[in-house]
Amino acid sequence: MMLHIPAYVEALTREMRSVGGRSGQKVRVHTLFFGGGTPSLLPPKSVERILTTAREVFAVQPEAEITLEANPGTVSREGLAALRAAGVNRLSMGMQSAHAEDLQLLQRGHTAEDVRQAVRWAREAGFENLSLDLIFGLPRLSLERWKITLEEALALDVEHLSLYSLIVEEGTPLARWVETGKVEAPDEDSAAEQYEWAMERLEAAGYVHYEISNWARRRAQGGHWGSLHNLQYWRNQPYYGFGAGAHGSLNGLRLVNAAEMAEYITRCAAGESQAYPRGPATVEVLEIDRETEIEETLMVGLRLTDEGVGRQAFWARFGEALEDRYPRQIEQLTREGLVELTDDRLRLTRRGRLLGNRVFSAFLGGD
């Protein structure tokens, strides 16, 4: 992996130049996000080089949010300082749990102490925007133990928290343990209870629940510390994706890059140019027709528990009223207590936040 890094960074910058170079005028960019895999393994020098390229190719705004996902076990004091100096201004770290047993179950290489230390170093380096990921609904995780995890995270006093319900992904060791009965399958009802408790506790602590799995502190100057980058996804707005396996979405297309590192590098090196916004490593292109765009806008927009899907914005974007398009669905979901339609928006109710799939499904496939 280490051996590939220079070649990979080279390929990445080529890809950015290739796509950016064909975009006409420099596109304004408000957010950058290093994610997927473990970007904290990337030497700060490489991060710097990527950012420099981005600034050359795009009109990266001075106040742009630049996030890097970091594994608390792989960061150092110097490394974090260098990242900050390179321009990264937001860190998202996978804390997961305060309990050693949970971390072991999840096969995470870090400890709770690593997390505390990483947060301290990040503050020292000047990061003002930190986020931690936690996982609830773990096997054997009681409400009491979950409370300990959440309190520990609160004590670290970060701007942003992401709470994910454990999903036993096929093919992982955890899935095997559950299958063979070594580990009890996570229980849906206790997961619901943990989530509900977290909603209350975080509200009391002054966090805004702005997306199903995400909470943010209020900003002194108004608004909140929600991830601007992820908000772009949830508002179904365009974004570029660079790197092996990256996804992009713009000009009515969803694009997917080659996922294999070697293939990705070869493709970028060859630099074969496909029509914009495709890049040299694009291997999959999906056209998004109007129907799909509407459905996806609702599917992701309703995840925004606070802002929901704006009626005005929907009208402006699609030229028809939300409630005219889905009268039956809205009526039924309202009756079931899962959504609320206010003067300006459609959004999930408190109960609907736990039953999002039901709500999203209602808007899919026409009927």
Partner: protein, 598 residues
């Protein structure tokens, strides 16, 4: 006529009838090597997939025998499954002889006997054949002895073959020529041709399979159906070889087809006799008793709008399968559908699969029921084949249910466990026989309602697959029967009702409720499931409201995948039936069939 032989192949299920037919078709050159495939006469998709013959097929072969003469051999391959017994009895009426195939490893089984008796009743010459001698576990000598004991045919004269490997198959053809008598009947007498089967062809209408007993049909002649009186001008007459091949004439002794051009089977019933309208015969041939449906179930479209498609599909199936009966039915829970009658569970399964696969319909099938005779307090007698239709208890003076004579064939080792199964199922022991060493034939009487609830599977599993069974209708007998109702969310769901023996009501109610609790997914609200009988709740359970579904994260790269996943789940949900405000999956309606035996 001297050179015609009409014969059928009969046997217990899977003993190798269709495989032997393959070899005979090859040996006589009726089918080219290029067109050959296994069980070539099983032409329906479902037959090929399940490896079972569902419908009899007739085929004409020409064979040059060792005496140097050419013979016309008309072969009818029959199904072995008990549900399709009536197909065998019809085929027999078109033949003078039958090859009785017995698997050399299994020996005589229930349908071996049942079919043998049918053939004897029709006065056929029976030629026993022992098959599958290539198998290491074959015991041809013992089986030959069993056959000698059974039918007095000298054991040493019984031909032993492997249909699969083609061993000794030529001998079978010689036996057919030498043992099966040529048909009698005079070609110059007035025409009488028996319709022993039919299928529907979208171009040529109803194709009647006929055996000409006397007289002849010439191409271009009109024919008259003696029972209905209708006169038809056939589109074509011909023989199966094995595809339809037109001929100029079918004469006394021949087996072939008459393509009638008729659009409904009702106009051309199996069992009717064709005669010549100019020179009619005096009397029709004895027909068949109509196959009587024994098992009834509701079939409903999952989506109400598919109702007309379902009706069309049932109509079409009936064109090829006159034993399927159906009439419109409405259910509070399932809305508009059809009450269908079947010959047995296997028949029902086949119809269900054909509707789903050949007609691409999403359907709900309710648990099968038998037909009850309900004697009302005012003396009126009702026939009820749907538990939901059972009148109020206070108006009923007696309920009678069909009882069957049941024969089970088994190695003696399983005697105990079979007796135990029978007593659990309200059966009564009648007698036993020992047709061969270590084998026993047990005769019982048992309510049909007990046979249609998983009985055959239970028998097979208790006997490690060795026991086989056959049954025939016996009579209606009064029973201590009650209606078991199921309430979901406080509402009685008619399609889940069952008629059960009073002593079992409590136990069955509990088992049914816990099964339904497993099958009904959690909904947005608590759902109570209750079983009641005689106005009393005998069991209850609660499906707790769902609190959360997957709270998966969803960022840029997840959107397409996640949308596909949700769409797939949604399609899965469409396969559920809304009963009131509760979503009930289709298999819940069959739950009563799969209650654990303790």
């Amino acid at each position: 006529m001297e050179h015609i032989r009409n014969f059928c192949i009969i046997a217990h299920v899977d003993h190798g009838k269709s495989t032997l037919a393959d070899r005979l078709l090859q040996l006589t050159g009726t089918i080219s090597e290029r067109d050959m495939m296994n069980q070539v006469l099983d032409s329906m998709d479902l037959e090929r997939e399940k490896g079972v013959t569902i419908k009899a097929s007739a085929v004409r072969m020409v064979y040059t025998a060792q005496d140097g003469l050419d013979y016309e051999l008309n072969l009818i391959d029959t199904p072995g499954h008990v549900d399709f017994n009536y197909e065998v009895s019809r085929a027999l009426a078109a033949c003078e002889g039958a090859l009785l195939i017995v698997d050399a490893t299994q020996g005589i089984e229930a349908q071996t006997l049942a079919n043998l008796y049918l053939a004897l009743e029709s006065d056929l010459v029976i030629v026993p054949v022992i098959n599958k001698i290539d198998l290491p576990s074959a015991r041809p000598d013992e089986v030959a002895q069993e056959l000698e004991n059974l039918m007095g045919y000298p054991a040493e004269e019984i031909v032993r073959i492997s249909a699969k490997e083609g061993i000794n198959v030529a001998q079978v053809l010689e036996l057919v020529v030498n043992k099966v008598p040529p048909p009698k009947g005079n070609a110059s007498e007035p025409l009488r041709a028996l319709i022993f089967d039919s299928h529907y062809d979208s171009y040529k209408g109803v194709i009647a399979y006929v055996r000409v007993n006397e007289g002849e049909i010439r191409s271009g002649d009109s024919v008259k159906l003696m029972v209905t009186g209708a006169v038809v001008k056939p589109v074509e007459i011909g023989v199966f070889s094995p595809g339809m091949r037109p001929v100029d004439a079918l004469r006394a002794g021949d087996v072939g087809y008459v393509a009638t051009g008729l659009k409904t089977v009702a106009e051309c019933r199996v069992g009717d006799t064709f005669t010549n309208p100019q020179r009619p015969a005096a009397a029709a041939l004895p027909g068949y008793r109509k196959a009587k449906p024994m098992v009834f179930a509701g079939i409903y479209p999952t989506e109400g709008e598919d109702y007309p498609d379902l009706r069309d599909a049932l109509d079409k199936l009936q064109l090829n399968d006159a034993s399927l009966v159906f009439e419109p039915e409405t259910s509070q829970a399932l809305n508009f559908g059809f009450r269908c009658g079947f010959l047995g569970l296997f028949h029902m399964e086949i119809i269900q699969e054909r509707l789903e696969r050949e007609y691409d319909l999403d359907i709900v099938v309710t648990a099968p029921s038998v037909e009850y005779e309900v004697i009302m307090t005012d003396g009126e007698v009702l026939r009820v084949d749907s538990p939901a239709q059972l009148p109020d208890e206070s108006l009923i003076s007696e309920i009678r249910e069909p009882w069957m004579a049941l024969q089970i064939f088994s190695p003696t080792d399983y005697f105990g466990t079979i007796m135990d199964l029978i007593s659990k199922r309200r059966g009564v022991f009648v007698s036993q026989e020992h047709p061969a060493p270590n084998r026993v034939q047990l005769n019982f009487e048992i309510p049909l309602s007990e046979l249609i609830v998983d009985f055959f599977d239970a028998l097979k599993s208790r006997s490690r697959g060795y026991a086989s069974m056959d049954y025939q209708f016996l009579e209606y007998r009064p029973g201590n029967l009650v209606k078991l109702e199921v309430l979901v969310g406080g509402e009685a769901v008619d399609a889940l009702a069952a008629i059960v023996h009073k002593e079992n009501a409590y136990h069955k109610g509990q088992a049914l409720v816990s099964k339904l609790k497993e099958l009904i997914p959690r909904q947005l609200f608590d759902v109570a499931i209750q079983a009641s009988s005689g106005g009393r709740i005998i069991s209850r359970a609660n499906v707790k409201a769902v609190r959360k579904d997957v709270l998966a994260k969803c960022y840029g790269g997840d959107i397409t995948r996640k949308k596909k996943l949700l769409e797939k789940q949604k399609r899965g949900k469409r396969r559920m039936k809304m009963v009131g405000s509760v979503e009930i999956p289709q298999d819940a309606f069959m739950a009563v069939l799969r209650l654990e035996e303790e």
